[in-house]
Symmetry: C2
Subunit: 337 residues, 2 copies
């Protein structure tokens, strides 16, 4: 019988899920709103809606198949515990809950899904780790045992694989490479984590936007970017402008590549991967971001590692990458057997 | 029958080796000069002398035992290939060798030892990885699956263990944490690797000595350290001076702890270890180095990891640490079975 794994991607706005086979084909997919369930006490209603929608999706498949597992990618997910902890962008909490410390709240998400799918393997990890496993099972890192995936979206996430295994770390939260400090001075940029100077404040879709605004203040070149207010500015506009030779956009990519390239040279010194894969919105800028990143990475590389490490685009992006990545959490275990 | 593993530690001056049991007891040990064999064409003579000395040591044991393996720790050793590559401080090369590129020269050390010990498991890794495995098998990281060992000697070495396995990386050279860049500006300190601003130029026995000399120039406090020329200065003198309240020595430790603590916070964000173990000469300074390092590590830590990661002294240092560490390379494999 055909085997399929369910992949679920929980985002702040929507939760997407789909059924994926061993080859990485998504047979069907669906979506529910995450945003709708952000009020107090909505978590249970969210889980109920998600499970019902998954059962409906499974019922809609026209052929017989075996559901071999459910893989979930979510912000702040803990692989070891099966929980989602401190989900700032997801569900709020009741005021009368016993533990008033919001910073330590957690949801037993795997258990709550298992309650509705009792005999199915369920596993969860954070979205960047899911992307990394997806690249290993279906994408650019197929067959590699040592590689890293860097997701360049609103923030910078990372999933690092060594000896064929995801580095989850002792507490399940490893791979926060977006929060290495690249500028610990008082002038370092504010980061969403409450500190200053983290890598993701520079090397991410948000980071390059901040750089562009700094450069509009610093440089005197004409630029169509000067017509766009901060609140409407998107990183993709920099690709369009750079394509036309816009000096500010080009400098924004060069600077971002410098910060990211140096940080990747440090990552290579630490874990010596076969390849680093750039994933996510900013990675779609192609050569604009890959060329300076590669150049600065090699420029700062310890001699031992020079010209050894591939810098690759995602092999799953665009193909329901997040659903593929989450389902790969299951396929990885099945294939490993 | 009693089982023993041989541990070999190849240093630039001496090569020490000894027989170690499963509990980490060193039954006997011996040493040959490495330095004596640094002339052209001496490598073969060195291997011959080492193997003879090992056979002699084995012959000297008064009880019957099984030699279960030979573990080797050496600079620039490659676990995957069994080689020692570009050993700047070890053997020189003949002028008439076919490959004139010194930067890529390598010795097939494991094969050369196996030739003299044909039916014995032989494994090699770099000295910092050997220390890390030693801490895992016999020392402060016993029972841990995710930890890092930082060796603070002449340079800074590191061995990172995740999911119970050493991170060797794709090419076998991972764990060069001494060469992450902490100051990539032109003012960054020269590093032995040819670049500027590497962590080990600040956080190592040599690094803190350099800091002390910078501080003697910067600060006007009286200090007995001002009597010692650079060429005679040793890091241990800073411990002695700090014990007496010397302001320059205390500031040197604070600054070193700041640089190292920040770098360890980044390492935690990347690999989330249960503990980080400080090993080597500078770690012997105890509270002088541990206290500022711990403080700055926590100060710069991402909230998720705050107050979770132990900073521990070595559990094998002083007890023939290097021999224990190298032998642990064998015991680790045997115990894992």
């Amino acid at each position: 019988m055909k085997k399929l794994a369910m992949g679920i991607d929980i985002g702040g706005t929507n939760t997407a899920f789909g059924l994926v086979d061993e080859e990485g084909t998504v047979f069907c997919e669906s979506v529910i709103s995450t945003e709708k369930y952000k009020k107090f006490d909505d978590y249970k209603a969210y889980v109920k809606a998600l499970c019902e929608a998954m059962h409906a999706l499974i019922g809609s498949v026209s052929f017989e198949f075996e559901l071999i597992g459910i893989g979930i990618g979510a912000p702040n997910a803990n692989y070891h515990k099966g929980t989602i902890e401190t989900p700032a962008n997801l569900w709020k909490f009741r005021d009368d809950e016993p533990n008033p410390d919001e910073s330590r709240r957690m949801f037993n998400f795997v258990d709550d899904i298992k309650a509705s799918f009792p005999n199915v393997m369920v596993a969860i990890t954070n979205d960047a780790n899911a992307a990394a496993i997806g690249e290993g099972v279906f994408g650019s890192a197929k067959g590699m045992k040592d590689y890293a995936v860097i997701t360049l979206g609103t923030g910078l996430g990372s999933g690092i694989v060594s000896n064929g295994e995801m580095i989850y770390g002792h507490d399940g939260f490893a791979g926060e490479y977006g929060h290495i400090m690249v500028d610990s001075r008082a002038t370092g940029r504010d980061c969403g984590c409450g500190r200053k100077g983290c890598l993701e404040a520079y090397a991410s879709a948000t980071g390059i936007k901040r750089t562009a605004f700094e450069l509009m203040a610093k440089m005197s070149n004409d630029s169509e970017l000067r017509e766009i207010p901060y609140s409407k500015f998107e990183a993709v506009m920099l690709s369009t402008a750079a394509d036309k030779g816009d000096a500010i956009a080009k400098e924004a990519f060069r600077f971002t590549g410098e910060v990211l390239g140096k940080a990747l040279a440090d990552l290579v010194a630490t874990t010596s991967p076969e390849a680093i894969i750039l994933f996510g919105g900013l990675a779609k800028a192609g050569k604009h971001i890959f060329e300076p990143t590669k150049w600065y990475m090699e420029e700062h590389m310890l001699a031992t590692f020079k010209n050894k490490v591939k810098l690759l685009p995602s092999g799953i992006q665009g193909k329901n990458a997040a659903i593929l990545g989450s389902s790969a959490l299951i396929w990885q275990k099945v294939i490993a057997k």
